[in-house]
């Protein structure tokens, strides 16, 4: 058995970016099939334009159209493409100095092997079938065998209907591992047990156990099984709907101090009207049916009142 439990997790969001006027001009150009460069105070013609001049620090306002044809000034082979790159088969990334520009543009070049590409090679833009004002409107560059066969340049700079925003999806796959101490906890839950551990220095009982007691910096140890009964220290009533919510509001989110533990867990309180939940209320764990158990605190569906008299404020006030 591995020391830790692990599982995949994807962190993904489609970011909505406002571009500001400079990058907006560049993306507008791509949408219209025009390569827009910016001229710096030092006379460099840069594509994409720099938002701010490297010397004067003023916003770039001098835009010029450059050619979709250019020369490779450096390249690298990409033998094992990663997700999201312009090709899912081996290809080249290159720096391409477009005719009319003095600085290169970074993009992909569609060639089948490293033997088919070299520094100094002439290439031209291959536009995407559909253009929306995004860097991927350039599908890639492709070798230009003969200058006469170059596709024509675009139709000049647009002054209105400028692109002001761009959506850039970011999706990353990770393998998330629980710490060894947390893994012990989740494995216990998978067997219907709530396991805590004690800090050998301050002797406080932590549920879940910790790789470092936050007071002392020492890992918690041992195995302390808790009954699942405890006291609500404090809580809030959730009335607000939000993305990903699993229960219809109103419901109660509460800190539950399990008997025998020195720190409260955050969990749901059900089985009682929200407005009847109280600080000090005695509750017990209500488990999901065994067949739904996993390595998760969600095996405990919620906590519900035991019906016992409320705990005295003095018994839990130092846990607030």
């Amino acid at each position: 058995m591995s020391r830790t439990l692990s599982a995949p997790v994807t962190v993904a969001f489609d970011y909505t970016r406002s571009t500001g006027p400079v990058l907006g001009r560049f993306l507008t150009g791509l949408r219209d099939g025009v390569l827009v460069a910016g001229r710096t105070s030092a006379g460099e013609v840069v594509v994409p334009p720099l938002e701010y001049d490297p010397v004067t620090h003023a916003q770039t306002t001098d835009f010029v159209e450059v050619s979709p044809v250019g020369t490779i000034t450096s390249w690298t082979w990409v033998p094992e493409p990663v997700a999201g790159q312009p090709f899912d088969r081996p290809f080249a990334f290159a720096l391409v100095t477009l005719d009319g520009a003095t600085r290169p543009l970074f993009h992909a070049v569609d060639v089948a092997s490293p033997e088919e590409i070299s520094t100094g090679m002439r290439v031209q833009v291959r536009w995407a079938a559909e253009r929306v004002g995004h860097i991927n409107d350039i599908a890639c560059f492709e070798p230009l065998a003969d200058e006469a066969s170059a596709r024509p340049a675009g139709g000049g700079l647009l002054e209105d209907h400028l692109v002001t925003g761009v959506v850039t999806p970011v999706s990353l796959d990770y393998v998330y591992a629980a710490s060894p101490e947390e893994s012990t906890f989740y494995r216990g839950l998978d067997e219907g047990r709530i396991l805590g551990q004690r800090c050998p220095t301050c002797e406080k009982v932590y549920v879940p156990p910790r790789s470092a007691c936050p007071t002392d910096g020492t890992p918690t140890e041992g195995e302390i099984e808790l009954t699942g009964e405890g006291t609500i220290t404090t809580f809030c009533i959730v009335n607000v709907p939000f993305l990903g919510q699993k229960i219809t509001p109103p419901y109660v989110s509460a800190y539950v101090l399990l008997d025998g533990a020195d720190i409260a867990l955050l969990h749901l309180i059900l089985g009682v009207p929200a407005d009847e939940v109280r600080m000090g209320m005695r509750v017990k764990a209500v488990w999901k049916p065994r067949e739904e158990w996993a390595y998760s605190l969600e095996n405990i569906d919620h906590f519900a009142p035991t019906g016992d008299p409320d705990a005295d404020y003095d018994t839990y006030k130092r846990h607030l």
Binding site: P8, V9, G20, P54, H57, K204, P214, V238, F242, L266
Partner: protein
């Protein structure tokens, strides 16, 4: 060897809005930076080093965005640092920038903190579901609401005190042209009538989600001599504790109390309420005003709400709090702490405009973050510190 004197001579901020869709991230930062430099009568070429602060990178989906921003911020060819201490980051960033001057290493430091929250969804970015863990079932305010309940239980505060704070801050914001929310006609009654989101926190008692930035120019004694109204730094402090430790006081955390004690001692202050003329305190949920008043020593334990209720934290009160409208009126998370620090400096420079407290000589800037566990504070004054 003591710290070298340091002063704020330039302050700039953006017009904070839910979406600044007219600007890129660089443009947002530059709006604040250019105003701070103009205020300081400097250009980027005068700056020795730049310190950037912002909250989690997941908000904008850029890893260490200061790297791609470096040239636009004028940092290329200079030293650049990036601070990230959760919600307190705006304050911590200003403190790191100040320390570059106080150490004698640099003379003119620019610091900028920003958040462009409209690029994603803050609630998502703060609660990406992790395997094995309980999904977040309470949402953003759900983390803090139980601690507010604990405060109410502990202090015996009447339940409308939070609404007093919210109405005050929203009305103060009407005097601040940069504030995100300009909600005319907010009253205690209207706040109490707003939807209860995370009982005991109502809709009008929560902060907005904003795009915004704040920038400061912090300089040494010689450079400050050229400024008509430097805000001298009298003390700075950062303190951290754990999110969840057994028996941690989550209403009045020890890190907060320790930080305040250290800060007052450094600034030579024995009675904060008498010696501090105004305070910009990080209050993302209204109830944190009375909570922090107690923790900071403006009131005794259990007495914070009495200051609020009696109007002493209003602009006309004994200790005006958040004359700018505070976090309750503008919340670009990464910048929110620096806005507190900057607004405090504006006050002692007599430059706060319509929300100026007449004669303010000494002010507190305060920020906190994480689960009330990271604290950053400073005291600024119109007079150069004597020690």
């Amino acid at each position: 060897m003591g710290k070298q004197p340091a002063a704020v001579v330039g302050i700039g901020q953006t017009h904070h809005r839910a979406k600044r869709d007219d600007l890129s991230m660089a443009g947002l930062c530059r709006e604040a930076i250019d105003r701070a430099l103009l205020d300081a009568n400097m250009t980027l070429d005068d700056i020795d080093a730049i310190v950037v602060g912002k909250a989690p990178d997941l908000f904008e989906g850029v890893m260490m965005p200061e790297l791609f921003l470096a040239e636009s911020l004028g940092a290329a060819g200079k030293p650049l640092l990036r601070v990230h201490t959760a919600g307190s980051v705006g304050g911590s960033t200003a403190i790191v920038a100040a320390s570059l001057v106080q150490s004698g290493v640099h003379k003119r430091v620019l610091t900028v903190a920003y958040e462009k929250q409209s690029e994603s969804n803050a609630m998502w970015a703060l609660s990406v579901p992790l395997p094995f863990n309980m999904p977040v079932h309470a949402g953003a305010g759900g983390y803090f609401a139980p601690h507010v309940r604990s405060y109410i239980r502990r202090s015996g505060a009447p339940t409308h005190v939070g609404a007093i704070v919210a109405a005050k801050d929203r009305n103060n914001a009407l005097k601040n042209p940069y504030a995100h929310l300009h909600n005319e006609g907010t009253t205690v009654e209207s706040v109490l009538a707003s939807t209860m989101l995370w009982d005991p926190i109502r809709y009008d008692e929560t902060c907005p989600s904003s795009d915004g930035a704040c920038a400061l120019v912090i300089v040494d004694e010689d450079t400050a001599a050229a400024s008509p109204n430097p805000a001298w730094i009298h003390g700075t402090v950062m303190r951290s504790e754990s999110t969840s430790a057994a028996e941690r006081d989550q209403v009045n955390p020890q890190a907060s109390r320790d930080a305040a004690a250290y800060l007052w001692k450094q600034a030579g202050i024995t009675s904060p309420i008498d010696e501090i003329d105004m305070a910009e305190i990080y209050v993302p949920f209204s109830w944190f005003e009375p909570m922090w008043l107690e923790s900071l020593g403006f009131a005794e334990e259990g007495g914070g709400w009495k200051l609020t209720e009696s109007g002493e934290t209003a602009m006309t009160g004994r200790i005006p709090v958040n004359c700018s409208g505070g976090v309750l009126s503008s919340n670009p998370i990464g910048a929110s702490g620096m806005l507190r620090f900057g607004e405090a400096a504006l006050q002692v420079r007599g430059a706060a405009g319509e929300h100026q407290i007449d004669g303010a000589r000494k002010a507190l800037g305060h920020a906190y973050g994480g689960g009330s566990q990271f604290f950053a504070m400073w005291v600024v004054g119109a007079d150069k510190p004597t020690s």
